[in-house]
Every structure is written in structure tokens, then in C-alpha cells.
């Protein structure tokens, strides 16, 4: 490769590096990505968002650590952590399949689980922590690749 070609390649790469952060602002907003990442140099611009999720049985019974083994609860926590990270980073609306699967594995009698997730962040106008988006999921055992619950078999 000649020096002149190298110069053109370098100039193009530097130009892309200069243009991308300007696009980053729009892309992050359009796709609900985490502005701290994706090379837009927007880290430390706003408080990091977090997810709070609540999981219930179809009749409104909440997931409770007291009603399951410690191992099962840990698996639920790990699945929740992975999903909430993924929601913040790349895919706010992605269904929590692994999280729901671990919950339904811990509660074999539940035919489905209802999960409500809030994304919490700082509102710019009021400078207060607010719910910025809410998603609700109803996932059946079939949805997450589990066999039907014992209570549903034969019904």
C-alpha cells in the first residue's frame, strides 16, 4: 500500500470517528440504547438508567425467595441481572425469556408468569428520578420452552 493510499484510509477513518458521535445521539434515542456506551463519548452525561421488575403468577402472587430453594432463587437473580443489563444496553423491549424460564422452573404449578418492568432515570426538566418507560410481559411455559405445568395437564 502506498503512503498516499494509507493517508486516504487514515483520513477516512478519522472522518468516520468524527461523524459517528454526532449520529450516536440520534441512534441512542431512536433505539433506546445506553448513551454511556457505543463509542459516542457520552459517558458521564446523564445518570445511568436502571430497571426494576416485578414478577407475578396469573392470580397476582409475587415471586418470593422464601418459597423456593436458594439455588433456584440465585438462578432467577442471575437471569434477571442479565436481562436488565441487556434492556439497558441494547434492547429495552426484548422479552425476558431466560428470567421467565427460571421463575416458571421454580414454580412448576404456574402456567405463565406476568412481568412488569420499569426503566428508571432522571427527568431532565424536574431533575427527579422517574419511571421513563414500562413494559409488561405475559410469558407462558411454552413461550420459554418448558413443558406445560402440572395444573394445566389434561385441562
Amino acid at each position: 500500500m502506498t503512503l498516499e493510499t494509507r493517508r486516504k484510509v487514515v483520513a477516512t477513518v478519522v472522518a468516520v470517528l468524527a461523524i459517528w458521535p454526532a449520529c450516536h445521539f440520534a441512534v441512542v434515542r431512536a433505539y433506546d440504547l445506553n448513551p454511556w456506551n457505543w463509542f459516542g463519548w457520552a459517558m458521564y452525561t446523564l445518570p445511568a438508567q436502571r430497571v426494576e421488575a416485578f414478577a407475578y403468577s396469573p392470580d397476582g402472587k409475587p415471586v418470593s425467595p422464601a418459597s423456593m430453594s436458594r439455588d433456584a432463587y440465585q438462578r432467577i437473580q442471575i437471569a434477571y441481572h442479565r436481562w436488565s443489563r441487556r434492556m439497558i444496553e441494547v434492547d429495552w423491549r426484548g422479552p425476558p425469556l431466560e428470567f421467565a424460564r427460571e421463575i416458571l422452573s421454580a414454580y412448576p404449578s404456574w402456567p405463565e408468569v406476568k412481568i412488569r418492568a420499569h426503566r428508571i432515570g432522571m427527568d431532565r426538566e424536574s431533575a427527579t428520578m422517574m419511571i421513563q418507560a414500562t413494559e409488561t410481559y405475559r410469558l407462558s411455559r411454552e413461550d420459554v420452552g418448558l413443558e406445560s405445568s402440572s395444573s394445566q395437564v389434561g385441562s
Binding site: L3, R6, R7, K8, V9, V10, A11, V13, V14, L17, A18, P21, A22, H24, F25, N34, P35, W36, N37, W38, F39, G40, W41, A42, M43, Y44, T45, L46, P47, R50, E52, R85, R86, E89, V90, D91, H118, I120, M122, R124, S126, A127, T128, M129, M130, I131
Partner: protein
């Protein structure tokens, strides 16, 4: 040189300066940085997937980079590996640290232009200086676009919800404001961090000095980004930016990022500072590898955010 690429000469080296030495030592620093960061990442989280392999191969290539005569070949391999680390993280939907992207970009420049050839080395320096200037400018501009610095909302939030940032900023914030906002704090999985309740705030405080400081952050970053490309100002601005990085690290404690940024800014200095400070950086990484909180745990460690 044509018009399309002529603008790169804005970042030309000062005649008679030690820029060749800085570039050659920066290449060694990149191997050191990549190796230590990859080893720390591997020690902190074994994923049981392709990332583990990428981390371990990165360490091997980093060692190879120090063997005389192998640096240029090793730098090409290093670029492929770090790009692979980034792509794997994207594929696995894991977060992608910005400093790893910077690392990949610089390894890419080194792979494209040899630091051992005068003309290519000059082009390499231009590319790296421009990238650092772009980085600084946008870190400031993004703060303006998001709008959480005008009344110090973001820094207030950090000072209230992070022990590290509290150490840096709490003396500027009235005690009653601090107590009011800290009352909203709940537990967080991260040590030294707190999760405020829904409805917490407003994260605004009655301190003109603090608000001024918050506004000076983006003014400095954008100004530094522009002035780093000004031949007469760049050494002084680089020095000020290094002091700024130290101030950030007092709160952020992202040490691998801090060490990388300081070395990048040393590329704007006339003296052979990358070589002179290389042993200090090597000791710092060794300490991180041997220390608690991410390393082998043999040495006591102040709290920091691992790579």
C-alpha cells in the same frame, strides 16, 4: 498531499521534538494496556465462551509485542483480537466499554502505519492526535446535548449516590442539600453506590461554585478538543487535560481508562514522556493485577472500577 487529506497536517509533530520515541513507546504501552486489561477481564469474569479465548490470546500477543522485531506483526494480531473482543461482546449483548473501542482504533492505526518508518509514523501521529481531539470535543458536546450539566444535575446525582464522587464534590455542596438528597438513597448491588427511590430529587443544589464547576467541565472538554490541534497551545492543553483526567479519576476510579488517556495525551508533548512514564504505568498495571478487587488479591487495594 491533496486537499482531502491535507487537514491531517494540523496535528503535525513539532520539529525537533521526541515524537518518534513517543510513538514507539506508545506501541509498547498499548501491548501492556491490552495485556493487563484482558487479563483483568479474564480474572474478573470467566464467561465460558469466545471472550475467554480472546482475553487469553490477547495476553499472549501482548507478550509477543515486547519481543524485538515482532512488534509490527504483533500489533496487527492485537488489532484483530481486540476487534474480536468488541464484536463478541456485541454478539453476546454485553456492554462495550468505550476505552476498548479507543484501544482498537489505535491498534488499527498502528497496524496500518508502521511507527518504524518516518512518513508512516508521521501519519500515525496525526491520526492519533486527531482521534484524541475528537474524543475530548465530543465528551463536552454530548454533555451539552443531554443537558444535565447546566444546573449541575448530573454531578449532584453522582455526589449523592457514589462514595467516590462524594469524596471529590461534597465540600462544594451545602450539607442540608446533601442530607435531603441522601435520604432518598436505597441499597445498590455495587459497593459504594446507592439507588435512589422513584421520585427522588430534584437533584439541584444551592451552590453557585458547584454549578460553575459543572459548566466548566464541558467548556474545558470542548475547548481542549479544539486547542489540542493548535500547534502552540497543544503541550499546555495536554498538560491541563492530564490534570483533568486525574480529577475525573478521583471520582470515576476507572484506572485502566485513566492510564490510557494520560498516555494518549502524552503524545501531544514534545519530550519523550511516554518512555519516561512507561515504568510507572507498568507498575500501576502490576499493582492492579496483584491487588484485591479484580486482581490476584495479594496486595491491599483502594476501591476502583475494574476494566
Amino acid at each position: 498531499m491533496d486537499r482531502a487529506t491535507g487537514w491531517l497536517s494540523l496535528a503535525d509533530p513539532t520539529p525537533g521534538s521526541q515524537w518518534r520515541s513517543n510513538l514507539e513507546w506508545f506501541r509498547l504501552f498499548l501491548f501492556l494496556h491490552m495485556g493487563a486489561r484482558s487479563l483483568l477481564s479474564w480474572m474478573a469474569t470467566v464467561h465460558g465462551n469466545a471472550l475467554d479465548a480472546f482475553h487469553l490470546v490477547a495476553v499472549a500477543v501482548a507478550v509477543l509485542g515486547f519481543v524485538p522485531g515482532f512488534a509490527q506483526r504483533a500489533v496487527r494480531a492485537a488489532f484483530v483480537i481486540v476487534a474480536g473482543q468488541l464484536l463478541t461482546r456485541v454478539a453476546l449483548q454485553l456492554d462495550t466499554a468505550n476505552h476498548v473501542f479507543l484501544e482498537a482504533a489505535f491498534l488499527g492505526f498502528f497496524a496500518l502505519c508502521s511507527a518504524d518508518e518516518e512518513d508512516e509514523a508521521r501519519l500515525l501521529l496525526q491520526a492519533m492526535r486527531f482521534t484524541v481531539a475528537i474524543f475530548f470535543f465530543y465528551t463536552g458536546l454530548q454533555k451539552v446535548l443531554y443537558g444535565y450539566y447546566f444546573r449541575a444535575e448530573f454531578l449532584t446525582y453522582m455526589a449523592v449516590t457514589s462514595d467516590f464522587f462524594a469524596t471529590v464534590f461534597q465540600w462544594m455542596i451545602p450539607q442540608e442539600d446533601l442530607a435531603r438528597l441522601q435520604a432518598f438513597n436505597g441499597p445498590s448491588p455495587s459497593p459504594g453506590r446507592y439507588s435512589p427511590a422513584i421520585g427522588a430529587g430534584p437533584y439541584r443544589v444551592d451552590s453557585p461554585l458547584f454549578v460553575l464547576t459543572a459548566n466548566l467541565v464541558y467548556v474545558f472538554e470542548m475547548g481542549a478538543g479544539l486547542l489540542l490541534l493548535h500547534a502552540r497551545a497543544r503541550s499546555f492543553v495536554a498538560l491541563a487535560a492530564i490534570a483533568f483526567v486525574f480529577a475525573i479519576e478521583a471520582g470515576a476510579r476507572e484506572l485502566t481508562f485513566g492510564i490510557l488517556m494520560v498516555n494518549l495525551l502524552l503524545l501531544f508533548m514534545d519530550g519523550a514522556w511516554v518512555r519516561k512514564l512507561f515504568p510507572v504505568c507498568a507498575l500501576a498495571y502490576l499493582y492492579l493485577l496483584l491487588g484485591e478487587n479484580g486482581g490476584l488479591g495479594w496486595l491491599p487495594m483502594f476501591r476502583y472500577a475494574p476494566a
